[in-house]
Symmetry: C2
Subunit: 135 residues, 2 copies
DNA sequence: TAATATATTAGGAATAGTTCCTATTACTGA
DNA sequence: TCAGTAATAGGAACTATTCCTAATATATTA
């Protein structure tokens, strides 16, 4: 819970979390902002960024980086990867399990103590593949 | 070769490629710029960016994204991954081979036609791990 | 070697995404 | 209900990168 960390439960924070969950498909900060503004018109983009950061820090959201310039936010905080369409940018979950992850030897990691693995796929989504083939 | 694509072989372009090779450890555009300026003081940062782009396009360099906000450039264009230190930012090659890659089923990929996989590791390099433990 | 066509350049403006700053507001616990 | 302080709006600042334009340099051709 937020309060245990000295955080307050403001309506802006609630709206940001709700927007990420409602949008579902890995929205960017800008997309969250659009939705939040409908409910709380006065909300500023910096408030959205601040709350996305705090909610991620508290483990209520997950940040998804490495899929382009923008950071995406995911309400699904479990272990999984993503595939992004190189045409339309749509992002889809890839349910890699631990045993499907690459097997690593210590020597490959140059002595680094591993903290995280990020696996991103890029491809063409079915819709874009079809549309682009027709032309 | 560059010329077969209507490209010219300018001294700035040569210097950019040489700098990436010389630096070795996955430099950013800014780091390449620093080195190039020593040899060709008048060179502008936009020339560095343009040439990094062209050289990557020609397959003479590889761009490494997903390790942070900046793009890194790699003179090693073969198949491999990277591990980045969460403290000092140092990047090291990880020699994952194809058979160590995750095995994917079509269903996981939501029907996307796969174009690329990017696997990034984050960790603590031996030096940072030791230094931070002492304190 | 000289002339020509055009790819490339320097320099700076512009852009996108994000973070930072400050005075004001509004939660929360007492 | 009040005090303490986390959070806010609004905008400035920042960072990495791309875009623009007139001038320059390279490669081809004569």
């Amino acid at each position: 819970m937020l309060k245990s960390n000295g955080r307050r439960n403001t309506k802006q924070r609630q709206a940001v979390l709700a927007a990420v969950r409602e949008l579902g498909n890995h929205p960017t900060a800008e997309q969250v902002y659009e939705v939040v503004r409908k409910q709380l018109p006065g909300t500023s983009i910096s408030t959205v960024y601040r709350n996305l950061g705090i909610l991620s820090e508290q483990g209520m959201l997950r940040t998804v980086t490495g899929l382009g310039r923008e950071v995406h936010y995911d309400h699904n905080t479990g272990v999984h990867s993503h595939v992004k369409c190189s045409s339309c940018g749509r992002i889809c979950d890839v349910m890699l399990r631990r045993e499907d992850m690459p097997r690593l030897t210590e020597e490959w990691l140059c002595g680094y103590i591993l903290e995280g693995i990020s696996i991103n796929f890029i491809g063409k989504c079915p819709e874009c593949a079809e549309r682009e083939e027709i032309r």
